[in-house]
Symmetry: C2
């Protein structure tokens, strides 16, 4: 069962047709260009199971919170990037019969996602009940060169008959979200016309429940305009068409008489503009028409060419080549492709949803995934502004994060960044997460550190970073409390990254990232004070910062934080009391009970020792430089066997750490669980959408993991090895002003400095300098860790 795509280095190929697997295919064949995206829905009529999904970045609806039992502090709504008007329809009626792909016989079906060139194509022969056959071929893309344009080339050829065809090209704004909390539709029609182009302007409804509370409801306007070009056997035609409009719907209807073997080609050009980027209706409309004029002027082939060039630029910086394993090659490229489709970093007001534009789950809005799993990818594969914009997104949300903390009872400028947000307001509504999974606040601080460390750009602190750090530190300083029995600071009632434990006390990861934030903030204060005196004064004033008192308190916390530890096993404890549980390795769970989150009651999961995703190990990854290898290894060998990796974010982190401690086999085994997660539908849920943010983790397990990439003494460092099964792999890194290519095979490592400046770096901990446009070649090493500790029987 499940969709199986063919292995190919650059393409994702589905060479069979199964209408029941269309939802799976829709996720895998998703397209995006950062500003919009959609699932791989068909252009054709299709009455089979489908999750129609078209999304426009930043266009959301505040869907009224739905909970069973209200808790004080819950948000009013869950913001979701909503299903937007669907402009992809090219719907055919043959001699009066609808060409419905769920109802006709489909022969020689092939659907291809060309990742190198960034387009989706599809070809098949449809055989009607009466034996009449039509050949169909379509190409679709969302331009990376002009991110408000989409285009479809649709060819149709009757193979064994002369056909009366009616073709409907439409824009359907009467769409809904499957996950609407109260079954509502979110769109209203604003304008519909056929001049100068057929177009539909819709707007999102105002959320009445917000307005009733005296709060402003956000409202977005979207314009979808389209035009067509018609060819028969490569000769352009002028064809009379009709228009049909319904509420929130416009269609252009063509009628053709085709002879046998004549090919009709329709080009459908679409422009999608939204009020996220244009302030008034006039602008929105004009810009949509302007885009269409450009598209029509260029024509399909030229538009596609520009699109492919834009993708070429992306691949130049971000491609990873794996030799000796086509499945792995395809897997890593799929990850890179999807990350680039989801976020381009052009806009400070956009971010990355866990499922990007590929499904409804998680509402397309922002989680800590962005900072912990995606930032490193964009840091290394895209121009500096891209990662910077991810940081500034959070900087701009700082006032809302402060409000959010106030709502929970904190004061004095303390900030708690939301678990889920699109506009800075918390949208999550599950107390054990919303209020308790506060380690996310640390990830925001860590991202600042990570960005600065990577780019050697401490001045970022003066402009943006320090304000955020102070606010987060203030939160930690209030969130801890002094335990009399322990004579230590404790952090009570939290949920760590391992969400299979809720409301625990002294989650080690949380306690650690809290004091780390305080330490880093103190350092940053000193740096800014010394180097950007005026900025420091501005920040002190703006944040009402009482340096002496506040930092004194922070130092006291840093020096007196409680960290749960077991002296017998000599391991860090995930949380206080963790060893009171029955500790049995996950390998003992019967296979038919996995994944446990689909087989066990929530309470059984909670009481068990099983770990959903890296928790202690997430900390040892982030703060690796503060621990010796022995400690990291001991904890790895204790916690990995207890981890069920039921979050897509888990195996990548464990894989990186396994690489670090020299357990190459384990590193590769875990890599496999993340690399083709969606292509092989490991979790049997790909139909819901792709795990976009976890793809950043996959990328890391290859570059940070197998590549051993780190920043060390302010230089880049590599300690690469190639997994047994592969011949070689290579990746490119955009590091500060340098572009590097790292190649590794069984015997050797080759690092090319593709830049005009010499670079000082480390390879296997030894310093080297590589001249501009020169290379470093060295023998490949495998760092073997001495002992593979076994805490458990197999």
């Amino acid at each position: 069962m499940g969709i199986k795509v063919k292995h190919h280095p650059w393409n994702i190929i589905q060479d069979f047709w199964d209408p029941d697997l269309q939802e799976d295919a829709e996720a895998i064949f998703s397209l995006g260009n950062g500003k919009m995206g959609h699932r791989g829905n068909l252009e054709e009529y299709f009455s089979g199971p489908t999750l129609q999904g078209t999304y426009i970045a930043g266009v959301y609806y505040p869907d009224k919170t739905r909970v069973g039992w209200w808790k004080n502090g819950y948000p009013d709504y869950f913001a979701k990037i909503i299903n937007a008007p669907d402009w992809r329809g090219v719907k055919t009626t043959v001699n009066g019969v609808k060409l419905d792909l769920a109802k006709v016989k489909i022969i020689d079906f092939e659907r291809v996602l060309d990742m190198k060139q960034g387009f989706l194509s599809k070809s098949f022969i449809a055989e009607l009940n009466n034996g009449q056959r039509l050949k169909i071929h379509s190409i679709r893309f969302l331009s990376m060169a002009n991110d408000e344009i989409g285009a479809i080339k649709y060819e149709i050829t009757p193979l064994n008959f002369g056909a009366d065809l009616q073709i409907i090209l439409d824009i359907d704004g009467d769409v809904k979200n499957r996950d609407a909390n109260y079954g509502e539709k979110f769109w209203e029609e604003v304008e519909i016309d056929i001049e100068p182009f057929p177009y539909l302007i819709t707007r999102t409804k105002k959320a009445e429940f917000l307005e009733k509370k005296g709060k402003k409801s956000p409202q977005f306007y979207v314009c979808n305009a389209f035009d067509t070009q018609i060819f028969i056997d490569n000769l352009q035609q002028t064809v009379i068409s009709e228009f049909k409009t319904q509420p929130k719907y416009i269609a252009q209807i063509y009628n053709f008489k085709l002879k046998q073997n004549q090919t009709l080609t329709i080009y459908k050009y679409v422009s999608v503009t939204s009020s996220v980027f244009y302030k008034d209706l006039e602008q929105l409309r004009c810009k949509a028409f302007e885009n269409l004029d450009i598209a029509l002027g260029l024509g399909f082939d030229e538009l596609l060419k520009q699109h492919i060039q834009a993708w070429d630029e992306k691949w130049k910086q971000s491609d990873i080549v794996i030799q000796g394993d086509v499945a792995a090659q395809q897997g890593i490229r799929f990850n890179i492709f999807q990350l680039n489709q989801t976020y381009t970093g052009k806009y400070k007001n956009l971010n990355i949803g866990p499922k990007g534009f590929t499904g409804e789950k998680y509402g397309g809005v922002t989680y800590w995934d962005t900072e912990a799993f995606c930032l490193p990818f964009y840091l290394s594969t895209a121009p500096r502004e891209v990662a910077r914009n991810l940081l500034i997104y959070r900087y701009n949300h700082l006032p809302k994060a402060i409000e959010n903390a106030q709502k929970l009872g904190f004061s004095g400028g303390a900030a708690l960044y939301p678990m889920v947000t699109i506009n800075g307001e918390e949208c999550h509504n599950e107390w054990e997460i919303t209020f308790e999974e506060i380690h996310r606040n640390g990830a925001i601080a860590y991202a600042i550190y990570n960005y600065i460390r990577y780019n050697d750009e401490p001045q970022y602190l003066a402009q943006y970073g320090l304000e955020v750090l102070i606010a987060i530190s203030r939160f930690w300083a209030q969130r801890v409390n002094w335990s009399k029995p322990k004579k230590k600071y404790v952090i009570l009632g939290v949920t760590g990254p391992n969400e299979y434990e809720n409301n625990v006390n002294n989650n080690w990861y949380t306690n650690y990232i809290a004091t780390w934030t305080l330490r880093y903030t103190l350092e940053s204060i000193n740096y800014v004070k010394q180097n950007f005196g005026d900025d420091y004064k501005r920040i002190v004033q703006k944040t009402n910062f009482d340096e002496e008192t506040e930092t004194l308190h922070w130092r006291h916390i840093i020096e007196n934080m409680y960290y749960p530890y077991d002296e017998n096993l000599n391991i860090i404890l995930q949380q206080e009391g963790y060893l009171d549980k029955e500790i049995v390795p996950a390998s003992k769970i019967p296979e038919n009970q996995r994944p446990i989150n689909q087989h066990w009651s929530w309470d059984r999961i909670l009481r068990s020792c099983y770990i959903k995703q890296a928790d202690v190990i997430q900390g040892l990854f982030f703060f690796e430089h503060e621990f010796d290898l022995e400690t990291i290894a001991r904890n790895f060998y204790f916690y990995e066997p207890l981890t069920v990796h039921e979050s897509s974010l888990s195996p990548s982190i464990y894989s990186i750490v396994a690489s670090k401690i020299g357990d190459e086999q384990k590193a590769y085994e875990l890599y496999l669980r993340t690399a083709r997660l969606d292509l092989d539908d490991y979790n049997k849920e790909v139909r819901e959408g792709l795990h976009i943010t976890s793809m950043g983790g996959t990328w890391m397990s290859l570059t940070y993991g197998f590549g051993g990439m780190r920043i060390k003494n302010n230089r880049i460092a590599f300690s690469p090895f190639v997994p047994q099964k592969w011949q070689s792999f290579s990746f490119k890194i955009n590091f500060r002003n340098w572009l590097l290519k790292i190649y590794v095979d069984k015997k050797s490592v080759l690092i090319d400095n593709l830049s005009d400046e010499p670079i000082d770096l480390y390879l296997y901990d030894k310093p080297y300098t590589i001249k501009p446009h020169d290379s470093l070649r060295a023998k490949a090493q495998h760092v073997k860790h001495k002992t593979q500790l076994a805490f458990f029987d197999k």
Copy 2:
């Protein structure tokens, strides 16, 4: 603000009219007779704020679960006793204008709930805009003598004009629940007719979502039939009427021309039958008509007389007389009255909802409140079968409780009784309660112990009790686990009675009641084995009980359970790690932040030390006989200052324990928080309904608390004192075969043995025998506890 009723020993009197407080009044003026009940809604038109509520015992709808985030193990639905067809309408139009009590001027309004006689009356003068005045007087009751009959006497007199009146007498089945999860209406019409009486049969909808899952949806049928008698100036009239029907609605419409000062009297007799008690439609219909025939035959006055007699019987057994404090007298009678209205114990398939028939909250279904707070009241004030039926209700649910445990991963006949249920299935859907508030299972066991202890009826074990005990013990035996670090059994991930802590480890109360259950089950096994050998064999076979292995394990748990304790303060710890919190007495919370559950975020409440309701103290109340007074007192003085009593179930338990340790002032102070909770609307929420189950607690704080009533060496014991502010109080106790009256004033105690048998009992720990129909008089003592420990500054 809020409704203020007049103090009166027997009556609840509202002597003002405020349409905005009608919802408050509706709760307070609720009526019930165990089989049905309703809020104090008006018979008249009323366009002001109202929560219309008519409930029929056992008639529920499985409302599809509504949660934000689904957790494995959640139930399909929340069963709720739904708002049933409203038969109370007597709606008047005066010269073409609706008499709407929200729109006319109301003069001399008085509404009286006569608790002694069990009826609700109301009188007022309505002045229309044109100055025309009508005098209205109504009486309404739900017969305690025939619990399927309700009646209204409605008198209307135009005072200063001749009136054209249209009066609509209706049954309105087109009602809905305000708390319907998806806004659905739950009723469908089945039959509507005017012969032999106007009647409406409705049925609850089938829950489609259940049927789709292949499960059977429950469905209930209800027949409402009515008839009228008309008098003008005491002369019976034969008046032609019209009927009007609409879907789920039937009305009988009368037109009258009244002269000034003529009084029209309408008697509306209603019979309500449900398929909870009648198997087919024919029976349902016939029984309704039969009831009406009886009612019409008796007439209003005779019906009322029988009703009053039935109440008289109840008061004879259950009245409490307080002298010197009318407010207290009214308060305690209101509690007793409501308990008797809610549950009569006639039917094994009924139970007690936390709000009885007075509102929608908690769905009218069963919580552990029944066993912990209500059972003692019925044990002492009603015939033995009444309390017994409460126990058998749970016995009958045992198979479902075993299923429920299986759903959560338990096996081998372990039972987890639901948090909320009507048919034995769990309906609650909040993981920290549903899955974790497992101490409820202990309360079911404790109720068996309590019933047997009170009635000296250990043979109950053989017939019903032991099966339940074994199943609950099996649950505990699987729910504990062995902690290697502690070398003890622990119970992880629970919520104790204090729901302001969730998912804690080793809640002392839970651990204690778990081992207590195991101990009691072991004892019970021995008893049944020795005294009811055949029953024991039957039970062993039925439950597949492996006595040797299972009891060995239980003994090991009993001997090795972990109980959190602080050696420094010498107190029991509510849960492991409780003292890691910041411990500040509740008196330090600013008044404007109370109650904290209306002012603080949930996470702030959870992290705080504040206790919602008795937890350690609940345990010390239940298991008082296993602790010395010093221990009880120490823990009381530690925990009471940390308790915010934001559950209605809290102050009563603390009050009883305060009485026990001789802190009379504290006992009285806490009593005041429970005794008039609803009458004085202490929590500003009475409009939602009355706190029926907490009324059992109030009764206990008077009898167990001030009265010092206990079972001791298999005899009843008293240690009464009268609170300073009162002159005296007295209560009656139905104990085994005896009826006792206990009177206490400042100087003396008087115990009357109202039975035909002598009784051996204790008074102030001294044994006495009282001959039949004789009395014991003794000096009143005040048991003063030596030290009032102060753990905190004021």
